[in-house]
Symmetry: C2
Subunit: 376 residues, 2 copies
């Protein structure tokens, strides 16, 4: 555990600033001066490199006087360890990789926060990669993280139900595992039996089922579902929940009211306009995500349709914006941060913790102002 030093640094300790900066302040020519190394420090302190290394690690007994000399030399030289050299030593790398579609979505942002928090709580740095919804890029990025020898690689969302993609991902899972690392999958289904990966999901289908049941129980019968993305597991599961809820009451969804499209605000806007233009008959819209719902609300407002008087609208995700919409959005709440934290925790301690293979976190619906009993 050479973490001592790092953690202190995370806390921002080290009260030394003094004239050090001035010493070399003049030569701000850039790429000129080489960074100082353990050897420089050793020389200056009149000790051996190993001793310097020992005070660095803090893990080994070093005479107080010696340690002081070394620390002084480090300060004077403005020394910082070279993380790569340290990582190369084979010992520890201390990095958590985080692969996500797009940091911009509040959905991802909150998971990212959970990941980052847990990572830094465990003394790890966090590498961030985005895939912009491109499965090819996702694969490339995971490979890159493998090169970085990250302690674990957390991949969020974007579970493409494509054979080649899944095979490739499965391959990575094994490769990472072999290297003592770990693949963590958040918000997506397991890759299969025996694949060494940590999966932290939330109940997509359950949430959609609950929401649909809620709408049906409010008397809605013609419910539009916006956001069927073929080949995306999240989408499939939510739609499944939507369908099963109908089934349970001996009803079935209207195919005409199920619209394909990506999970975006503008898609929600467009799809709703089309729905309106086609004079389709519906009393509620279930948007696959809150972002889609945002577009829906705007289109309805512009179309002069009142929410929830004329049409009820529900979303999925419960991102913070849901509170800022008008009316506030009824939606399915997902424990974003916890997903991120849990994934990192389980992936890092796969051997000590139970259930580190697969965990499903619950979801629940949150009823706000955008839905109400039909015709009330």
């Amino acid at each position: 555990m050479s973490a001592d030093g790092d953690e202190a640094r995370l806390r921002g300790e080290e009260t030394d600033v003094e004239g050090t900066a001035g010493k070399t302040g003049g030569m701000s020519g850039g790429s000129g001066g080489e960074a100082s190394t353990v050897r420089d420090v050793a020389k200056r302190a009149g000790v051996s490199p190993s001793t310097v290394s020992r005070v660095l690690g803090g893990t080994y007994p070093v005479a107080t006087a010696t340690r002081a000399k070394v620390l002084k030399a480090m300060r004077e030289l403005d020394y910082v360890v070279n993380a790569h050299a340290r990582a190369l030593g084979g010992s520890t790398n201390k990095t958590v990789a985080f692969v996500v579609d797009d940091v911009t979505g509040p959905f991802y942002a909150h998971i990212a926060r959970g990941v980052e928090e847990q990572a830094s709580a465990e003394g790890r740095l966090c590498m961030l990669c985005t895939t912009h919804g491109d499965p090819q890029r996702a694969l490339g990025v995971v490979e890159l993280m493998r090169e970085q020898r990250a302690d674990c690689v957390i991949v969020v969302g974007g579970a493409w139900e494509d054979k080649a993609y899944q095979d490739r991902m499965t391959h990575f899972a094994h490769a990472l595992d072999r290297a003592g690392s770990r693949l963590g999958l958040v918000g997506r289904p397991p890759l299969g039996e025996g694949v060494p990966a940590t999966v932290v999901e939330y109940d997509n289908e359950g949430g959609a089922f609950a929401m649909t049941t809620h709408l049906l129980s409010q008397g809605h019968r013609r419910i539009a579902y916006l956001g069927r993305v073929p080949l995306l597991s999240t989408s499939r599961e939510r739609l499944q929940g939507f369908t099963s809820a109908h089934d349970m009451l001996g009803l079935s969804p209207y195919p005409r009211l199920i619209k394909d499209g990506v999970f975006s605000r503008s898609y929600g806007y467009q799809a709703t306009r089309e729905l309106l233009a086609s004079k389709a008959d519906f009393s509620a819209i279930f948007a696959a995500t809150d972002m889609v719902a945002a577009g829906v609300l705007q289109a309805l407002r512009e179309g002069g349709v009142r929410v929830p008087e004329d049409v009820s609208v529900a979303g999925y995700d419960d991102i913070p914006v849901a509170l800022d919409m008008y009316p506030q959005l009824t939606t399915v709440s997902v424990p974003h941060e916890e997903l991120g934290r849990t994934a990192v925790r389980l992936a890092l301690h796969r051997d000590e913790l139970p259930d580190s293979q697969h965990q499903v976190l619950g979801t629940h619906i949150v009823v706000r102002g955008s839905t109400r009993r039909r015709g009330k």
Copy 2:
């Protein structure tokens, strides 16, 4: 430019999956199997390590037949370079560090996206650190990034106007510069003359000035300003714009209507409730950020105050949520992504690009439904 290989990988190429995974698939015991090295590959291909290294880099002439043998061996061994060993070689490290308060804020998220995009466009990986608004932690994190030998360290927001903090940051700027790296400051003022750092700001004061002028020109005279954070430069500049706009018309702000508080939704909510409870007289509220404005709108709505009929509300940042609020928020638009992209670009190419020291991007107000002429 050994980037060839990496970039291909970013594009997710490498079509090989085959039975490779199965080869060692059984031994999924974790930390067991060591990762293979250039030497293993060399041995298997019957060549020398250097040759392997050469095909890895792609930068050197290698006989087609040899290259094929090597590639085959790599595939069979499921080899991936060790980024740390490579970085240690001194050549290139290929990382951009990104330090931010909190990924969760849409404001930061968009800058993050810009940073990430530009970084990956330049073949760099992105390290993410959050500071949770703690200047001490920010300093610690920058130090950590220095250990990582990042090509550049981009710090967003949270410019504490605290002497010790600034000295320390200045020190880092020099240290990074000395190491051939670069400190990039986004959305915060320069550290001072001659400090080697790339600063990309946006016009905080100008935006606040424009917005305030707009409100005043609409007949508002008693404007509340919510979000004066002592010691935070962003806050000071916005408040300055607010004040100057008054000055220009020979007016002055009402001290009673200027409320201190952090930039958060809940602060906006609280402050507004207090304003309402104190029966203060005002016809407009200028919130220091859109998040604050979100809280303001909610409090007003709950208090039965109509927006914009009774009170006009303006924000700052133009984050996506501004469109989802009701009424849609009049605010100051900031080019978030461009800030991020520009910072990375300038920091990475400080020597080739002009004006790589300091750049101020413009802001402009966007008038939406939350403001209108007073008493209309």
